[in-house]
Symmetry: D2
């Protein structure tokens, strides 16, 4: 039988994402609602190792639901990947009598948590927070919806100047391993082409498509490039290649970069973060462990961390077809 949970620790780890503050708030308030204590550790697993934490109550998380970033800060901890690091972390938890952890982050975070949980029998629950949406077991990760809006707003701005100058723009968006952001923002912003790691369009098809677009009378064009695109060229080389082959294009490159990680979370992300995090606390109280909460349709579901870590979510390839139809 599982031990009664009295004190929960919470961290944010890995890349930050809008909505992480909303998630922390919901963990804290759910603890408060169920009359258990909540401790926030700073800088991801490093805070666990170094004992850098603070007790949090309902008031500590006032007026943060709409703030980007994470007030607990985040990091990728090398030390936690070592046995010694995890041993230190366990000492801290033991001393503070913390019974369980809520881990807000991505699959790297969960992999670390899973090992730690097995080594020291500490129940952990994962809450998926990353803008990339590349996590198995949930249709949406916290921060993804906000990032889509941030990117689409940025492309709308670039479209203004692209149209005014009849230019071709290559816009690199985040997504090292997955094209979720590229594909959805490409459709949402009406991009002429979308390059994602999941599908190698090929340079020839890109040239064909841009030539066709030109012939159809379009004077400006936008190509969205996922940072992890596997076409063998980075976005600057790609732009060079295209202008060498299609010299009538005046091509420019924009790398959107870290603006994609920040900003006020969308309503969707705030509600998602709130629901997932309340559920994470309730699962611990129910004696569950080593699962991640996820969204499926309108329900909060769970998925074993083992699956989350070892499987990859699929992008909806039907969207590629939609994109082709719409860029007619």
């Amino acid at each position: 039988m599982s031990k009664k949970i009295k004190r929960i620790g919470v961290i944010t780890s890995g890349g930050d994402a809008p909505g992480m503050n909303a998630a922390i708030r919901a963990v804290v308030r759910a603890c408060s609602y169920y009359h258990i204590s909540c401790y926030g550790f700073y800088n991801g697993y490093n805070g666990l190792i170094n004992g850098n934490f603070e007790e949090l109550d309902a008031r500590s998380v006032r007026n943060i639901i709409n703030r980007g970033g994470t007030f607990l800060k985040t990091a990728r901890s090398k030390e936690f990947r070592t046995k010694e690091g995890r041993a230190k972390a366990y000492e801290v938890l033991k001393n503070e009598e913390i019974d369980a952890l809520v881990l807000i982050g991505g699959d790297g975070t969960f992999a670390g948590g899973q090992i730690f949980s097995h080594e020291y029998d500490i129940p952990v629950i994962g809450v998926p927070g990353t803008i990339d949406n590349d996590i198995y077991g949930t249709s949406h990760t916290i921060g993804y919806d906000t990032a889509l809006n941030t990117v689409v707003e940025a492309i709308d701005k670039i479209r203004d100047t692209a149209s005014s100058h009849d230019r071709l723009f290559f816009i690199e968006v985040m997504g090292r391993d997955a094209g979720f952001i590229a594909l959805n923002t490409g459709i949402g912003a009406g991009a002429e082409e979308i390059l994602i790691p999941e599908e190698d369009l090929g340079l020839d098809r890109l040239l064909d498509s841009l030539e066709k677009s030109r012939r159809s009378g379009k004077s400006s064009s936008i190509v969205i490039v996922s940072e992890g695109d596997k076409i063998g060229k980075n976005v600057f080389q790609l732009a060079d290649y295209v202008t060498q082959n299609l010299p009538y294009y005046d091509a420019k490159v924009t790398v959107l970069g870290h603006i994609q990680r920040g900003g006020t979370p969308s309503c969707f992300d705030r509600v998602l973060a709130s629901r997932m995090s309340v559920k994470a606390v309730e699962l611990l109280l129910d004696g569950q462990k080593n699962v991640m909460v996820g969204l499926k349709d309108d329900d909060i579901i769970t998925c074993p961390l083992d699956n989350v870590i070892h499987e990859k979510p699929n992008i909806n390839k039907d969207l590629l077809r939609i994109s082709e139809i719409l860029s007619t």
Copy 2:
């Protein structure tokens, strides 16, 4: 066997919603992709009756994916509710040899379309566009996600001034029959209370809750009121009632009104509108009729218009519980 579709008409009808332009664009471009003609009728069913329309090609819908409202305009047509009105509309379609219609709107739009389709054997496909999300057969309607963000941004602004002055704000949001907007934005903006038509919280519980909130040290509070709330008082009377009973509160009222209908659509709404509308055209080409396209999880599904018209979607009451936990 169904007649081969060569010409499709499209209207937007009922209340306008952000993403309707993206939906029209996708209908037009899908028609173009499948080499059929597309006609846009102005002012909803009135354009059908009066023959106020225009042929649309891929270029007609350039640079509109990010615009609020609907360039085809919209209306609630009284004349279409009469047999004579629909007869005129049919004459127009017959003269122009238009074989089928895509109807972008809400359940009133679909009810009219359903009758018309039965009377004159014109296949119609519904595309759900309304900010209220109160349509059976889809988890999301076009415009709903954008409206959630618009409302949450507005409440964030009001929270700034509420906190600065230690005030209680009653904020009325749209949703005559359904509390989707109120419930989600209430959670998203961290409201202290949420009043929706689906649940009569009761005036006493509202007072209790506000008293408790005051005692817990909160100096400002936000109450979200769905315009269709059934508590028997409008939002101004509600504010008066509360200040009479809890005189330490300095209460203010904001009715958000029509700003909720406008604005640049979110990425989610643009992609949703694009996917649904391409599917609507493809369904017609496949010989289907009298269904509405909808979203379920990440798939575009269909639902018979009969069901859409006669059933009501349920709000997720679990969100009320989440709201209570988080407003601790």
Copy 3:
């Protein structure tokens, strides 16, 4: 010779305005830069009276430059209008050895400060913070530029729905005594008519103008009404009057209300708040008192509080002419 200043108090008072946090931050950091102490009093003059304050250092004001509202909170203090109230306030300052005050607020704030300064020989410097821009001695008040953008964004949204439905909208904006917001946002949003307290357009001219607009083929129209407009009708009565006389109009009303006070300050307001507040501290260190800092062209100037309190700024009536030309 004036006493050497070692400790400065700062308050925000009156209606809150975006940029007040940026102003407080700049007061605090300027104090820190010049090695003097800074004390923030809560809730305007009430904090002075009740001794509700906190010492602030450079770190206390981190990450607030972009936040709406005022973390020192604000109030309109009745007690400070009494001799007894001001006597209490003086006791607090004397006990804490606070030598001077920076007052961030509007003319009501400055009037109280002026009296207090004369009674107890405490140097005060005013920093104009109010969204209404109705303060003599500066071309811009802190928060005004942000409010203009907030209003224009809201009207843009309403324009989407107005155009989609061929509607006439009456939109009430803030400005009880001055039409600055109405006039500038009316031009900025392309309103068909603008009603301000400084000029009585008259009901007949409004009807004429709306009839002309209709005849010119415009199907939707926006009328901006300053809340202090002197036409003798409130915005709802105005809408009724117009629809009775011009029944082809489908008129709607939106009262923008308190969303106008909140939100992230614009770059202009952040820079203005920063410059004015640094100057306020430097003026005190220079032995000056009882002046308000203001903006003229690109310079920070000063104006005696006596003038600020007794004179009214003029709106630029040339803008009315521009509005008429542009609504052609």
Copy 4:
């Protein structure tokens, strides 16, 4: 005596800027108001040379006041720099009986217009439109205020992630020859350092400042770099240099790029564009020529194009001092 003006041509030229559409609209509507004809030429001077134009009336410019970019498009014309190019342009104007031109753009645009005006006695009036604000004779150019807000919003987003990860960010903003954008957004976003072309801070002082900032307990820092900064290193080299010397910093680079040119214009830019452009038409009707309209305090003034072309505006160096005080 100057010829009576009956037909006016308008172009947008050089880099596009938000508010150019509002400027075109005001030119067109002022022409309509004064009963003269207005012709819009496409692609800057190229449209003049190629006769690519359209007559514009009040309706042609509906619903564009809030759109980024320029619907007349813009270009930098090489051909117009040749005598032959200008001769062709003159033929077009003569054939269409166009008497005068309104030129919306930057100093390159005005230099070309000035030569053309002298060669062919065509009165021209300049309207300053560029996000860089680097034009003599006006305190503000059209688009500058919007760009400041765009940049500050982007930096706010980056601050979220910088704070979450304790990172140092180098952010490159536009401004090849002038530091207006860098300086104002640096203050507005609370940057720790600002590098502008007008002042060579020196690499040593940058290192000192970042070291000091670290010691004061700041864990994240933002350095704004104007693209024209003269420090001898581009922004990537700068980041490398700093991390080599201050290895405890985890430095990242973001080049904001073309998002700075687009977006919905701010209220300020819409009103400025409206006022300047009405004035430009009125000046032509008054027989004036070869001046640029400008803003000074709250008045629209004029400045001879000769001065505009040959002089440089000064940035307000006092802002550097403010920045230093505030980054304490």
